[in-house]
């Protein structure tokens, strides 16, 4: 696998096929934890880690266990098992290392388990027939795409909160949804960007 194709894969996952803004996976934490940039960064890093690790572990399990035994039908169950264990681990780690972030992420931290972007990346790795390196790169960069999207969106929302003169009916969640739509439109512009 050449260097260029890695870059192409990474760029694709971050910009062109951004998990949130183009594939529309993982919307729940995107809207829920994007009120401040600080928690958005924490959530972005946590999701990036889980997505990268899930890609790695799922690929290894797929190759060493599921395919040789002919258990491909149990793929979703096994992937969910892997993801929920990883999330549990992250929760313990954050509680120990960063209690402040742990509290501010709140319910959305255990909810990474049901974040469809995480299961999505593991299944897409399989669907696209990626090898181990490609899977990990796709997982990590897909997580980075999530990070970028939620970070930009949190910035937009912070500004909206402070400066924008929002009509009464649009205050709070409605204007957040509108701006998420606009952000998604902006990311659609990257679809013309293709390497190779």
């Amino acid at each position: 696998m050449s260097f260029v194709s890695v870059i192409s894969l990474a760029l694709g996952a971050i910009l062109i096929e951004n998990f949130i803004l183009v594939k529309f996976l993982g919307i729940c934490p995107f809207l829920g934890v994007s009120k401040s940039q600080e928690t958005a960064v924490g959530m972005g890093l946590a999701v990036t880690f889980v997505m990268g690790a899930a890609s790695l572990v799922c690929w290894v399990i797929e190759a060493l266990l599921l395919v040789p035994l002919g258990l491909e039908f149990a793929r979703t169950v096994v992937y969910i098992l892997v993801i929920s264990s990883l999330v549990q681990f992250i929760e313990m780690f954050l509680r120990k290392a960063m209690p402040g972030l742990y509290l501010s992420l709140g319910i959305y931290l255990p909810l990474i388990t049901t974040n469809c972007a995480v299961l999505g990346v593991a299944l897409l790795n399989r669907q696209n027939g990626y090898n181990l390196l490609e899977s990990v790169v796709y997982g990590v960069t897909g997580g980075l795409g999530f990070f970028v999207a939620i970070f930009i969106f949190a910035g937009v929302r912070e500004r909206l909160e402070l400066t924008a003169d929002v009509p009464k009916a649009f205050e709070g969640f409605p204007i957040a949804l509108v701006s998420a739509g606009l952000l998604s439109l902006a990311f659609m512009g990257f679809s013309g960007l293709k390497i190779i």
Binding site: L71, A74, V77, S85, Q88, F89
Partner: protein, 277 residues
């Protein structure tokens, strides 16, 4: 069943079970490594607390309250559900004295709906908010009265609020003082009262006496008979409604005796159903 199928089933069982055991073991090892030193007292208090998570203390659930107590941000006596006993136990854990815990219970300041005038028969959603948003601001002629659709009763986690002959009624013995019903009532008819209080004004109408007389059998007219006959001078008439100052009330019951409208309840029984003809 062919041998191949059996193999697949057994393999799936072993593979997924094994993975589960592996991850479980790894997680339990990790939980030891990343164990957070929590205050023992916090766990002890969580065990003591009733676990109702009602929010009556003003914190998000029992665990949050326990955390606040240990960190010194909250008094030991805030749990309305547990009352004095629980406060005493928490105080022992914290090594302080509990002090007096005032038990508070809810009281519905309306006694009238059964014999009060109605504008129309309300048939619709059994919910006070919906009814008040319907034609004419609800079916009751009295703007202040309980319409008896039971939003408060549904909000009560302890089944202490019931609808008796068309008006909400709080069972003082079952009430734990969590104040959920207070916010559930769109007319704000329910207030939290001291458990020891004896006399209650069972009316919230601020309408003039003549209007109240027409609309309701038991509404307060604001004529001040109770105020004149109160030996302690605890009752005053504010906006055509009797108001009891509980710091002066000694619970003699004169006011209830003298009230010609029976809207002052003296040491009210838990249920009123049997009193009505």
């Amino acid at each position: 069943m062919t041998g191949n199928e059996t193999f697949t089933i057994v393999a799936a069982l072993i593979a997924i079970g094994g993975l589960g055991a592996l991850f479980g073991g790894a997680l339990s090892a990790a939980s030891k490594k990343f164990a957070v030193q929590t205050d023992e007292r916090e766990d002890a208090i969580i065990k003591i607390l009733p676990g109702a998570n009602c929010g009556g203390c003003g914190f998000q659930g029992c665990a949050a309250y326990a955390h606040a107590v240990v960190s010194g941000a909250a008094e030991v006596s805030l749990c309305t559900v547990g009352g004095a006993e629980i406060a005493q136990e928490i105080a022992e854990v914290m090594g302080v004295t509990a002090g007096d815990v005032r038990r508070i219970v809810a009281y519905v300041r309306c006694t009238g709906a059964a014999d009060s005038e109605r504008k129309y028969d309300y048939i619709g959603l059994e919910d006070c908010f919906s009814a008040l948003n319907s034609i004419g601001g609800g079916p009751l002629e009295c703007r202040f009265g309980c319409i008896g659709l039971g939003s408060c009763a549904r909000a009560c986690p302890y089944d202490a609020v019931t609808i008796e002959s068309g008006v909400a009624r709080v069972n003082r013995e079952l009430c734990k003082g969590c104040s959920k019903c207070v916010t559930a009532c769109p007319k704000r008819l329910i207030t939290m009262m001291d458990y020891g209080a004896k006399s209650f004004v069972g009316c919230s109408s601020r309408s003039k006496g003549a209007v109240v007389r027409k609309l309701c059998g038991t509404g307060c007219l604001g004529d001040g008979l109770c105020a004149k006959n109160c030996p302690g001078g605890a009752i005053s008439i504010v906006d055509n409604l009797a108001v009891i100052d509980y710091s002066k009330c000694d619970g003699c019951g004169k006011c209830a005796e003298k009230c010609i409208r029976n809207c002052i309840e003296f040491a009210p029984p838990v249920s009123r159903v049997n009193l009505l003809p």
